[in-house]
């Protein structure tokens, strides 16, 4: 790396960027101290005190990304990719899915996705993929600029779309693509040979990643990253489990926002520190009797991805009726596998951990998870977000809904929308269904 590049990176990220983001955080914290909230405070608890810190951490991550091509190798990965390997090789790791979610919350995803659609990508394709490809083709992004990848890592444990999506990226950027194929677990547990198959792929990925990184993998470092991953995942799980308390101290809407680091900064020490502080704040809320929804009357579960461009709308709509969204299968997915991570056996445990995400298991497993969560979190009902462009998460929901109603007597609502494509969201219909569901719960 040249001295000029190092200086440019240091100046932009560590001096100017850090100072700017710290100032932003300081201003946000001062504002929060006055109890001000953009969300309806008549029904909702004040925002989490940690929110400005999380925002600073995430913004810093994207700022580092903006200048990452100056001083590091960059890898673009899927949300369920075994990132520890790349972290141990000092890659800057970028998650296009997280970037797309940022575009969703910033309500620019439709405009960006249209760039991909104009280039011929069908609207039936995942709206994350369309947002990402739209950014790649047009350069449009709310985070300034995305660094070019030197390596791509796709893991099929979340969907099959990533196979095509990452091939498009590999073709566009002309960089190597590592593909980790995780066999789908239809029933029960993964077979030994399936786990062995994934493990071998991980081992075979090392020389490719090493070649791009231009360094050898240090096993001690890999174990250290895995340790930090495990710690962060455990803390994340604990934070979510605190919502078994009645009334719930935080909402799944808070979790949707706070989950960014567990996805894109898993394996970093800062993520562990952040979640330790968040856990402390949640415990303080419980001790002081602060509930996420004032006068909580009913507790619901959310299935599937969030509707990123309508988080606040939905949070306020439910809170007005005293309904707290206390758990979600989506946020849970980044905590439930924590016990499987074994830092001393990074490859063996990664092979199993990355085969077991909820989206890589049968519909029956998801139903069992939902049933377990209904018990553990004392839930009164379930909202199944039928996500127009996330088929793997949405398939089976009609049967799951039927079974929840008939076998468990738990009311369940199928809500049609899309995680990132606001054109699919019909506000009047959604409000209408939710209002009727709320009346039914009463």
């Amino acid at each position: 790396m040249s001295v000029t590049k190092a200086c440019a990176y240091h100046f932009n990220v560590n001096l100017m960027g850090r100072a700017f983001l710290r100032l932003q955080r300081w201003q946000a914290e001062r504002k929060a101290a006055t109890g001000a909230s953009r969300w309806k405070s008549d029904y909702l608890a004040p925002p989490l005190k940690i929110a400005p810190r999380t925002k600073e951490l995430v913004a810093r991550h994207w700022l580092q990304g903006r200048y990452a091509n100056l001083n590091r190798k960059v890898a673009w990965v899927t949300s369920g990719a075994p990132v520890e390997l790349l972290k141990a090789l000092d890659f800057y790791v970028l998650y296009p899915e997280n970037h797309a979610a940022i575009c969703g919350t910033a309500r620019v995803a439709v405009d960006i996705a249209a760039e991909a659609e104009n280039a011929g990508y069908s609207r039936d394709i995942c709206s994350y993929a369309r947002t990402d490809i739209g950014t790649v083709l047009s350069g449009k992004t709310p985070v300034g600029k995305l660094p070019k990848p030197d390596l791509l890592l796709a893991c099929t444990n979340i969907c099959q779309t990533v196979l095509q999506w990452y091939r498009v990226l590999a073709h566009h950027f002309n960089v190597p693509l590592i593909l980790i194929d995780t066999p789908f677990v239809y029933y029960g547990e993964a077979t030994d040979h399936a786990v062995e198959y994934v493990k071998r792929q991980l081992e075979e990925a090392i020389p490719v990643a090493e070649k791009v990184a231009d360094k050898r993998l240090d096993e001690r470092k890999l174990k250290q990253v895995a340790r930090l991953s495990k710690l962060a995942s455990e803390l994340w799980l604990e934070i979510m489990e605190r919502n078994q308390h009645q009334p719930a101290p935080i909402s799944a809407f808070d979790e949707f926002i706070q989950m960014a680091p567990i996805v894109e900064m898993r394996g970093d020490a800062a993520t562990v520190d952040l979640y330790a502080a968040l856990l402390k704040e949640v415990d303080e809320r419980i001790a002081r009797g602060i509930s996420t929804v004032k006068g909580e009357r009913k507790r619901l579960l959310w299935d599937n991805l969030p509707i990123w461009y309508r988080l606040r709308y939905l949070a306020e709509l439910l809170a007005e009726h005293g309904i707290a969204l206390v758990a979600s299968t989506y946020t849970n997915a980044w905590g439930e596998l924590a016990p499987l991570i074994d830092p001393e056996r990074p490859f063996e445990s990664a092979a199993r951990t990355y085969t077991y995400p909820i989206l890589n298991r049968g519909a029956g497993h998801k139903l069992a998870t939902i049933k377990h969560m209904i018990e553990a979190y004392h839930l009164d009902g379930v909202i199944l977000h039928s996500d127009r462009s996330c088929k793997p998460y949405s398939i089976g929901q009609i049967d799951q809904r039927d079974k929840l109603i008939r076998d468990c007597g738990v009311p369940a609502l199928l809500l049609e929308a899309d995680h990132n494509d606001a054109r699919v969201f019909a506000e009047e219909q959604v409000a209408h269904r939710l209002a009727a569901f709320v009346e039914m719960l009463e």
Binding site: D402, I405, P411, E416, A426, Q429, A436, E439, M440
Partner: protein, 271 residues
């Protein structure tokens, strides 16, 4: 002399607006229906003036007219009492109101299908009258009255004769599009190919009913099967629904008023 109206319910739908008045026992004693006006507030104000004139002023059993009002339907949030007169008001969704109205009218649970102008819904009602499950049409007008209305217009068949014409058909063509707009183009193409209007109409009804049956399956058909909404006036719909489900269809006395009736009953509880 007519019984005094103690509570009112208004159902502001996409196609029609309905108002119902109930007496102290919850009997449906007054009602009024009109095509929906885009100026909902003005229309509801007119309805209220009429209700006041026809019920309170006609009976004069009390000094103050303070019948509470519950609003339902898509325009329910636009309903306000006129200035200076504000008894209890609430807005409640049609799901709850329809269930309440039909349960009071028929005194049993089951599966209620309501086919309105721009939305249709299926509601599972428990033997005690509670809503146990419901589903509504997708983000399009397939399976609603508007689907037939649009194409009736194209075929130049008066709306009120559509059902009879469809039932008179000896043949039936399949309409593959469930989308109201695309079905219209499909119909135009069929006419161009010389297909008989009766056969097209029958096919259109079949398409609508199949869409509704798919919704019934989502909730699960627990007999008896009840049908309400403006589309009930079309005789082909209940008949074909019986064909498709194999269940006898029960239609209440005032199929279009069940939402407003339920709203009035909820209003009565507010007193």
């Amino acid at each position: 002399m007519m019984k005094e109206v103690r509570a009112l319910g208004v159902d502001v739908g996409s196609t029609t607006v309905k108002m119902v008045g109930v007496d102290a026992e919850g009997n449906l004693v007054w009602h009024f229906l009109e095509q929906a006006d885009p100026r909902v507030e003005d229309q509801v104000e007119r309805f209220l003036a009429r209700a006041r004139h026809e019920t309170f002023e006609a009976s004069q059993t009390s000094k103050v007219w303070n019948a509470p009002l519950v609003a339902t339907g898509y325009g329910r949030k636009l309903v306000h009492w006129p200035e200076g007169h504000r008894p209890a008001t609430r807005s409640v969704t049609e799901i709850t109101c329809h269930a309440k109205g039909i349960y009071r009218e028929l005194a049993h649970g089951g599966t209620l299908v309501d086919i309105g102008g721009q939305d249709s819904k299926v509601i599972g009602i428990s033997p005690k009258g509670d809503v146990v499950d419901f589903t509504m049409n997708d983000k399009c007008a397939a399976g609603t009255g508007r689907f037939l209305e649009n194409t009736a217009h194209r075929l130049r068949v008066p709306l009120e004769q559509m059902g009879q014409v469809a039932l008179s058909a000896s043949e039936e063509v399949a309409i593959s599009s469930t989308c109201t707009v695309f079905a219209e183009s499909e119909v135009i193409s069929l006419i161009a190919h010389g297909v008989a209007v009766e056969a097209i109409l029958r096919g259109l009804h079949r398409s609508l009913v199949k869409r509704v049956v798919a919704m019934i399956r989502t909730v699960g058909l627990v007999p008896p099967l009840m049908l309400s909404g403006g589309v009930v006036q079309n005789p082909a719909v209940p008949r074909m629904l019986e064909d498709e489900t194999g269940e006898r269809v029960i239609v209440p006395r005032y199929p279009q008023l069940m939402g407003a009736y339920g709203a009035a009953l909820i209003a009565l509880d507010l007193r």
